[in-house]
């Protein structure tokens, strides 16, 4: 770096401060006393910011909560506003939403697998160190991610913060030809995804399982992405409108993020492993076969294997995208009218990291009166802490450096969205 003006610059941190997080572990003798994941959570600010806004604005505003999963926010927002107004966008629009969402799953999962999580398993400090030894692998990951970006760009208008999404549907539907020309690249990406499942399936996974409840959308006949009812691993089923009757958010002193509990069941997880466990039978044949060959059973309760589930879901998203494109006819019109109607609406979709809940009250003059957003990471926080407590307890013989590294790897299992719930992970271990 050249400092043209010859002055020293101490950059304390670049300014993508969507969120910051820290983790504290307190060990007394041979017992883990406390594990706290501190998360500063912006969605509460967005909830306040949305009040008084026009009912057509939440998809664009909430998309800015997270740079990694803007489509998730847009889709949950559209679903909730349309629900409040009593409008159904219709199958053609829902299918195009699903296709756009596939793009987001592909790029988000590819980023996490290749640049964030795989280095942990291969003994590298990060993606840069891994790239120096395994340039071909990192290039493969970037090519996979790019396929997702291109799909998002073709439908959303651009790969970040898509501008083509509106309440009721889309500003403009891509032509059939626009999407057909993506097929070759998506097929190549599907081959990479298949290699990816086999590659991550060969990693060493610590022997560690949890018995928390699991929460995911379910829509029999199809793997859940853009809609469905909520199912739990203990057999409860409820509609999006009943989310707040079943999920209780509680304040904890060490974090501005609320902890979530399933009423009557306690700590739970949402996310890829929960989706897979509750819905693996609805994956495409190709994805099911690849999962089996990579050593995944019908369910996944070892958080370290979440990387395999992400790879399987990436493969599925590519397979599903190709299926949707083959069947695609542009929705006419590209958006349905959503006449203003005073009321309350709910929207739940499966963000790459899990269930994303939106609820809005819309007034008779079309303004948002209240908004509530429950992102996946805050739902998972209590479970992450509970798992880490147990994980650390069994590894107290490790020195602080090794312990820190193992804990960071463990936290990455859950892919906490620090943009939407930690950016800097400062880990402190207090041994007493």
């Amino acid at each position: 770096m050249t400092h043209r003006n010859d002055r020293a610059l101490h950059v304390a941190g670049l300014a993508r401060v969507e969120g910051e997080g820290a983790m504290h572990i307190v060990v007394s003798g041979d017992r883990v006393e406390r594990v706290e994941l501190e998360i500063y959570e912006p969605p509460r600010f967005f909830e306040a910011f949305l009040r008084g806004r026009h009912y057509t604005e939440p998809p664009d505003i909430t998309a800015r909560i997270c740079g990694i999963c803007p489509v998730a926010y847009q889709m949950s927002a559209c679903a909730a506003i349309e629900d409040a107004c009593g409008t159904d966008a219709g199958e053609a629009i829902w299918n195009l939403r699903r296709l756009l969402y596939c793009g987001e799953w592909i790029q988000s999962h590819a980023l996490h697998i290749y640049l964030l999580h795989a280095p942990d398993f291969l003994g590298y400090a990060g993606a840069v160190e891994m790239a120096r030894d395994h340039r071909d692998i990192v290039e493969r990951g970037l090519a996979l991610k790019k396929a997702g970006n291109e799909l998002m760009g073709a439908i959303g208008g651009r790969p970040i913060h898509p501008v083509n999404v509106r309440v009721g549907g889309f500003y403009r539907a891509p032509s059939r030809a626009d999407l057909l020309q993506l097929r070759d690249r998506l097929r190549r990406a599907r081959d990479i995804a298949l290699q990816t499942v086999a590659w991550v399936g060969g990693f060493d996974f610590p022997d560690f399982t949890h018995d928390h409840d699991l929460l995911a959308l379910s829509r029999p006949g199809t793997y859940p992405i853009e809609r469905g009812d909520l199912h739990t691993s203990t057999g409860e089923r409820f509609a999006p409108a009943a989310f707040e009757e079943h999920v209780l958010e509680v304040q904890v002193p060490h974090s501005t993020a609320l902890h979530a509990r399933l009423v009557g069941h306690g700590t739970y997880f949402t996310g890829p492993a929960a989706r897979y466990t509750l819905n693996s039978q609805w994956l495409s044949q190709l994805a099911r076969d690849a999962a089996r060959d990579a050593g995944l059973g019908a369910e996944c309760r070892n958080p370290f294997q979440s990387i395999v589930v992400r790879a399987v879901e990436t493969l599925y998203a590519l397979d599903e995208a190709l299926r949707l494109i083959e069947a695609y006819e542009p929705p006419k019109p590209a958006a349905v009218d959503v006449p203003i109607r005073a009321g309350r609406g709910y929207g739940v979709t499966e963000a790459p990291r899990g269930v994303l809940y939106h609820r809005y009250d819309v007034s008779a003059d079309g303004l948002v009166e209240t908004a509530k957003i429950v992102p996946p990471t805050s739902q998972n926080q209590a479970g992450i802490e509970a798992d880490l407590r147990r994980f650390v307890q069994d590894r107290l013989n490790l020195d602080d450096e090794n312990m820190t590294w193992r804990c960071e790897q463990a936290i990455r299992n859950y892919d906490p969205c620090i943009s939407c719930a930690t950016h800097f992970l400062d880990l402190t271990i207090d041994r007493r």
Partner: protein
């Protein structure tokens, strides 16, 4: 010869929105042959945006301690930066990692200029602090000059 200007930032985090604000101003100048883009700084996207370019100007807000809000640092990056803004993040990677990764993959632009501007307020909300807003004209000039010298007249 290709020139790209990239504004990094989030306009819902006050001064973090300065990169996108500068790009918006540059769009009004209608500079021929210059592609303008706004992104969130995620490394693989940055690498895709800049890998084929000859000249890249990247505008990003930075936190400094002590802060001199509105102060512009012009950095010409021609080698690995080793931990610029390095994080132990579980979720995202920073600009420093983007540069180091691009170097490892041999996908750096021919010339990369970073215009880093010190911000005062990165809290949730819209609008720039007065010191940062006052620096926009200078940032636009610096960026336009940098891409201008790279393009045929």
């Amino acid at each position: 010869m290709t020139a790209v200007v990239i504004g990094i930032g989030n306009e819902f985090r006050r001064d973090d929105g300065v990169g996108p604000a500068v790009v918006q101003r540059l769009a009004e100048l209608d500079l021929p042959g210059v592609s303008l883009t706004v992104t969130d700084g995620e490394p693989s996207r940055l690498i895709d945006l800049w890998a084929e370019a000859d000249v890249v100007v990247l505008i990003d807000a930075v936190r400094n301690d002590p802060a001199r809000p509105g102060k512009i640092h012009e950095l010409i990056v021609d080698r690995p930066v080793g931990g610029l803004g390095g994080t132990a993040s579980s979720h995202g990677l920073g600009l420093g990692e983007a540069i180091d990764l691009a170097v490892a993959l041999e996908r750096m632009p021919r010339r990369l200029v970073i215009l880093a501007i010190e911000g005062a307020d990165f809290s949730a909300g819209t609008g720039l602090s007065p010191e940062v807003a006052a620096a926009i004209d200078r940032l636009v000039d610096l960026a336009a000059r940098e891409v201008g010298t790279a393009l045929p007249r």
